[in-house]
């Protein structure tokens, strides 16, 4: 094992323990988040090692990983900026916000990661923040009623190495940091 070793392996075992005996396969989703928090994406190693941990095939793990949009099977930026363009947000100007994100990030449509490796942009379906549309998430922390100008500021903050204060909850250090919380492990203890 190269991803799930040491403390990460201990975390993986704790995740598997959450589910009833004989139902270990239920742990595949949180384990994918854990792998993603280590590797910054779901790599081939992550897929294979989860298969080994759960005694299922790599293909079975990949079938799950490829089904859900929050698992990244390709290289991903340090931060993931998600912009909802579904109807409630579209009606409040989300398309201009998504466009502004590309301009600020200096990225073309379809480009996965910014040249400096800092950003991945993601067009989202409904994020469930229709009351504060247009909704944006940075590493899954919410930013409400974002305008194109605000999007420029948000991306400028990320460029300056600062995490902008979210509308509710708290910001995570990075996409990887958020994935650790998604695995149900809480935030990385500060060094």
């Amino acid at each position: 094992m190269t991803v799930f070793e040491g403390s990460v392996l201990a975390d993986a075992r704790a995740i598997i323990e959450r589910y009833p005996k004989g139902r270990e396969r239920s742990a595949v989703m949180p384990l994918l988040y854990l792998g993603q928090s280590v590797d910054g994406m779901v790599s081939r190693d992550v897929l294979r090692e989860i298969g080994t941990l759960l005694a299922i095939t790599t293909a079975e793990v990949e079938a799950v990983a490829s089904f859900y949009s929050m698992y990244r099977l390709r290289p991903t930026g340090t931060h993931v900026v998600s912009v909802c363009t579904n109807l409630a947000c579209k009606l409040r100007g989300a398309e201009a916000v998504y466009e502004a994100a590309h301009r600020s990030a200096g990225m073309n449509r379809g480009q996965e990661v910014s040249r400096d490796g800092l950003l991945t942009l993601h067009e989202e379906e409904c994020l469930g923040v229709c009351d504060f549309a247009p909704a944006v998430q940075i590493d899954f922390a919410n930013h409400d009623a974002v305008t194109p100008e605000r999007m420029h500021e948000l991306i400028a903050s990320l460029r300056a190495g600062e995490m902008p204060e979210p509308a509710r909850g708290r910001a995570f250090a990075s996409f990887r940091g958020a994935c650790r919380v998604l695995a149900g492990l809480g935030e990385e203890p500060s060094p």
Partner: protein, 431 residues
């Protein structure tokens, strides 16, 4: 009518301490659980049945009846699964309910668990609700510390554990059997029914799956009784409903109303009317999956029966408002694109139909519509509706059929002019 309503689910929203266990208990929280541990499970189920509570996630199935279907003598464990996968476009009331008062959900879940003899409950929360899942994580911890969960619930000897499981971005996992597959570590594709989850659900064991808002109604029903619950709402749709109103309104947000409240009261009294006083054009009563209605339907009551009679559905009571500057073709294209993205791929009418419908709608909006596109859209709608395994496909058909039904002229105009008649205006909408 709306201002007379005594808030139920939202009555502690003004109190920031209600998010913690002490604040919740100070406001009378967990009294219903104390009561429920002293009741026979059958009596808990009877009370919920008598209340007439119906599932708030969209289908409106009677909750007490659902619990009553669960056999407890199979020798298998029973499970309660909370559907917090809130993903229907336009819907965000579960999010705010949990942000403000997570213990009400835990209490309702624990009562459901007692009713069906369940020792392990699961909360399936959509991955994007990361902050809300942290709020729940903290609340679960507190509930264990106070003995509302764990090995000896309210010193009754009953055991109830709650496990939080995060989804990872898939609308289909709000469909209950797809949710179960996802929770079992599979792709989130729906299962054939029967067997229904009540008989063979999670891990092939008897399972109750309830929506967040549904379960949050349960503590009051136990503490205050079925008659109290029925004192608002309509005969067939008793109680209150959380409504999300978004899009072109002055005050988008989540509001609690009595079932049966006319749409007009929500739009005008609560949401402050259409943005900048513009004329209303179209609205979805229950998320993008429910057929859209028009300005002719403003006096329709928001309840299961009235909306069905108007040709739509209550769904999740997620109202998205479009005004006269919004192009219905453009909006329909975006809504159908969603179903194309979220189709799990299992059934051809859904997988192919939503993809092709998106292409045709975008073609019409882009000014390249053909005369035969309108009958083609109608045909597609009818070839999708009720032709797939689960209701996701019907959402696609709802958008197509209702936009054609109410706005055929607008489609015609696009094709005739070879452009979107509202495009210029549209770009200036929020300028």
């Amino acid at each position: 009518m709306t201002d007379a309503l005594e808030p139920r689910l939202t009555r502690n929203w003004g109190d920031p301490s209600a998010v913690g266990v002490d604040g919740y208990v100070a406001a009378g929280g967990y009294e219903a659980l104390h009561e429920a541990v002293g009741m026979a499970p059958a009596d808990v189920i009877e009370t919920v049945k008598a209340s007439g509570l119906r599932g708030r996630g969209g289908a409106g199935f009677p909750t007490g009846m659902k619990w009553g279907f669960v056999p407890t003598d199979t020798g298998k464990p029973t499970y309660v699964v909370v559907n917090f996968d809130e993903s229907e476009p336009g819907t965000c009331n579960n999010r705010e309910l949990v942000e403000r008062e997570p213990h009400r959900l835990l209490e309702g879940t624990a009562i459901a668990a007692l009713a069906i003899g369940c020792q392990a409950a699961f909360i399936y929360v959509r991955g994007e609700y990361l902050w809300q899942s942290m709020v729940l994580e903290r609340a679960i911890e507190e509930a264990y510390e106070k003995g509302f969960l764990g090995a000896d619930v309210c010193r009754s000897g009953a055991r109830i554990d709650i496990v939080l499981h995060r989804g990872a971005g898939a609308y289909i996992c709000g469909e209950e059997t797809a949710l179960l597959n996802s929770l079992e570590g599979l792709r989130g594709q729906p299962r054939l029914r029967p067997p229904f989850p009540a008989v063979e659900g999670l891990y092939a064991s008897p399972t109750v799956i309830n929506n967040v808002e549904t379960l949050m109604n349960v503590p009051d029903i136990i503490a205050r009784g079925a008659d109290w619950f029925r004192s608002v709402g309509t005969e067939k749709s008793p109680g209150t409903k959380m409504v999300t109103i978004s899009g072109k309104v002055e005050r988008p947000g989540n509001y609690e109303v009595a079932l049966g409240t006319p749409f007009r009261a929500v739009l005008e009294d609560l949401a402050g009317g259409v943005l900048r006083g513009r004329p209303l054009k179209a609205w979805t009563p229950g998320g993008s999956s429910t057929p859209m209605l028009t300005a002719d339907h403003v006096d329709v009551g928001l309840d299961y029966e009235s909306l069905a009679a108007a040709g739509s559905m209550l769904g999740t009571a997620a109202i998205m408002v479009m005004d006269e500057t919004d192009c219905v073709v453009d909006c329909a294209a975006r809504m159908v694109e969603f179903y194309a993205h979220e189709s799990c791929g299992k059934c051809t009418p859904c997988r192919e139909g939503s993809w092709w419908a998106t292409r045709v709608l975008e073609r019409i909006e882009g000014g390249h519509g053909r005369e035969e596109d309108l009958p083609l859209m109608g045909e597609m709608g009818n070839n999708i509706l009720f032709k797939a395994f689960c209701a996701l496909a019907d959402g696609t058909a709802s958008v197509i059929n209702s936009s054609l039904l109410h706005f055929a002229d607008e489609f015609d105009e696009h094709v005739r002019l070879g452009r979107c008649p509202l495009k210029v205006v549209h770009a200036e909408v929020l300028a």
